[in-house]
């Protein structure tokens, strides 16, 4: 994105809201500002109606602050909780019919490659567990199997939060939720393992208790997807509202999971490793 198109003309400066002016002057579009500088620049996400203490909100915020090129990033989302914040984000964001985000991303990425063959347009899917593991599993897996150059990021709160707290494919076995009155009867869907065998060049499993790991994973995933192949980041983003814990316990909950079934995991194929080395050089 040419920065000229966001710079307001002098006559309009005073009329534009202060949030917009801050974004132009102190945002991450001009000089690169990443996770390390968080707290000292204008973030690309604006206010949103996520619940107080929302794990997904934290996950989305950390991802947005970790984008390597926010000026050329397009985010594809789908209904759920994630899109509350994403609809307030200063990049092109497209909502989609529920679950079809990876198909939309496939078409978009290919068309942007046709129209801008010399630019890196980072197409990032940022979606919840329902959209990837359940209703969109088919389309998600196929975008990986086809080796589409897109990054898929799941903010996993292990529940359908937006619709009132129903069991999700990513809920743990035994968890009692709406539509699972006797507890979930089958295990958490191993989307991370599926990503590995379906052709993702890179994958990382992280939680909101480790923001720096999220930053590194997101950056690697987006860079690798540019040239090598599909990438996947799964972030545990617990939900105080539906899993019924106090809103100030979100990070503690994530930390406990990180010590157990949500431990840090990463896979990377040789080509992706080579590419990263060259990119860093």
């Amino acid at each position: 994105m040419s920065l000229k198109i966001i710079k307001p003309t002098a006559a309009f400066q005073d009329l534009l809201p202060p949030e917009y002016r801050e974004l132009v002057l102190n945002g991450p579009f001009k000089d690169h500002k990443g996770l390390n500088e968080l707290g000292s620049f204008k973030e690309i996400i604006e206010e949103h109606p996520h619940c107080a203490g929302c794990g997904v909100a934290l996950g989305v915020r950390l991802v947005a602050a970790s984008l390597p090129s926010p000026a050329d990033t397009l985010i594809i989302g789908t209904p759920g909780c994630s899109f509350f914040g994403l609809a307030q984000t200063a990049v092109n964001y497209a909502n989609t019919a529920f679950g079809n985000q990876n198909a939309v991303a496939s078409g978009l990425k290919r068309m942007l490659k046709i129209r801008y063959p010399d630019l890196h347009k980072d197409v990032v899917v940022l979606v919840g567990d329902g959209g990837i593991a359940d209703i969109g599993l088919d389309l998600t897996l196929h975008s990986w199997l086809r080796r589409e150059n897109i990054t898929t990021i799941m903010v996993d709160n292990e529940v359908y939060g937006n619709t009132g707290g129903q069991e999700s494919g990513m809920s743990v076995e035994g968890q009692v939720l709406n539509m699972a009155p006797q507890g979930k009867k089958f295990p958490k869907i191993p989307v991370f393992d599926l990503a590995r065998v379906s052709g993702c060049a890179y994958g990382a499993r992280v939680t909101v208790a480790s923001p720096k790991k999220i930053g590194q994973a997101v950056k690697k995933a987006i860079l690798i997807a540019r040239e090598v192949g599909p990438t996947y980041v799964q972030i545990y983003t617990p939900c105080p509202t539906n899993l019924k814990f106090p809103p100030n316990m979100t990070i503690k909950t994530a930390k406990e999971a990180e010590a157990g079934y949500y431990s840090f995991q990463e896979f990377i194929n040789d080509e992706a490793l080579e590419y990263l080395k060259k990119a860093e050089a």
């Binding site: 707290g39 204008k42 914040g85 809103p247 100030n248 990070i251 503690k252």
Partner: protein
């Protein structure tokens, strides 16, 4: 007026752990000169995550 987090600047040592714990954007700003954080109370939802992670007890929700 708002239920929001408040900073005790005496106790804050500018470690910024709270910045990475807050789910909402641009609530906690780092004041470089004073090496402390500041809370935008209009944006804060009062969830208390910052207060919970603060190692110095410099944050509280009220």
């Amino acid at each position: 007026m708002y239920v929001a987090a408040r900073v005790d600047e005496e106790k804050c040592n500018g470690c910024r752990l709270c910045v990475y714990a807050c789910p909402d954007p641009n609530v906690i700003a780092v004041i470089q000169l004073k090496k402390v954080v500041a809370i935008d109370q209009k944006r804060c939802k009062g969830c208390g995550l910052c207060a919970t992670v603060c190692p110095k007890g410099a944050l509280a929700v009220s």
